[in-house]
């Protein structure tokens, strides 16, 4: 049962990534990429990592992809982009990703309904409390290094993203 769920999620992940690579249009590629991240989150859940699954959905499929959507929409402003957008979100484009997403939703719904997030035969469930204990004891130095990485990230994004005076 759990193996079957895993293989369904894995095939959704791989097929949506293939659709992402061959998509000619940035918005359609983004749609398939979000679906790929959601499928990977379900795989995390089945591998006994619910905390990583939640972070994958919230940060990757949520925050990072929203940044991509913002930039794509910023790069094409103007009256003709409205017509373009109307063409992009036609039903024929959406039905494959929506169908795959429904498959994932049914899978998660079944997992919740049966109450078996990981079977006895599956990997041991490692919850957030264990991760937090290890993160803030053995990997404390790496956490500090991550904070050192994030501050230049903020400053660099601000510096590179601002509009200079000599720009048109």
């Amino acid at each position: 049962m759990m193996d079957f769920f895993f293989y369904v999620a894995a095939s959704v992940a791989i097929s949506s990534t293939v659709l992402f690579v061959i998509a000619p249009n940035a918005v359609h590629a983004l749609l398939n990429l979000i679906l790929s991240f959601l499928a990977i989150a379900v795989i995390f859940l089945l591998l006994g990592a619910p905390f990583a699954a939640a972070l994958e959905v919230i940060i990757y499929a949520g925050a990072v992809m929203v940044l991509f959507v913002f930039v794509i929409m910023m790069l094409q402003v103007g009256p003709k982009s409205v017509e373009q957008e109307r063409r992009w979100i036609g039903i024929r484009i959406w039905w494959v990703p929506v169908g795959l997403a429904m498959l994932l939703l049914a899978e998660v719904g079944t997992l919740i309904a049966t109450g078996a997030v990981t079977a006895e035969s599956g990997p041991r469930r490692v919850g957030p409390e264990e991760v937090g204990l290890v993160l803030l004891s053995r990997y404390l130095l790496a956490v500090e290094l991550a904070s050192l990485l994030l501050l230049p990230g903020i400053l660099g994004a601000y510096y590179l993203g601002r509009r200079r005076r000599e720009d048109p």
Partner: protein
């Protein structure tokens, strides 16, 4: 602990990484290249989670957290660079940005 599931998860991670690498090499749009990098980072995270599940240890998830931090720090800077390229060259083609003739 659980043999085939974890092995197959690592195989899925390898396939996803190869797909991301294909996208990075095949596409010339800067946004597509960035998204392919995201796919590759995710595949690496999946590999870590699978390895952590193999031993029932939380270390895999800790490494995934660091990959997540790396991606969150990298994406805004890279997207700001993409915006600058679009502002100066009015295109997102990676081949247009060869002024240094590198």
């Amino acid at each position: 602990m659980s043999g085939p599931l974890v092995v197959h998860a690592v195989m899925v991670a390898g396939i996803l990484f190869a797909l991301g690498l294909t996208g990075l090499l095949a596409r010339r749009n800067l946004l597509f290249m960035l998204m392919s990098v995201e796919v590759m980072l995710n595949a690496a995270g999946l590999g870590f989670i699978a390895a952590g599940a193999r031993w029932g240890a939380p270390d895999g998830q800790v490494m995934f957290l660091f990959i997540l931090t790396l991606a969150a720090a990298e994406v805004p800077v890279a997207l700001a660079l993409v915006l600058q390229v679009h502002r100066r060259f009015h295109t997102l083609d990676a081949d247009a940005v060869t002024l240094m003739e590198g």
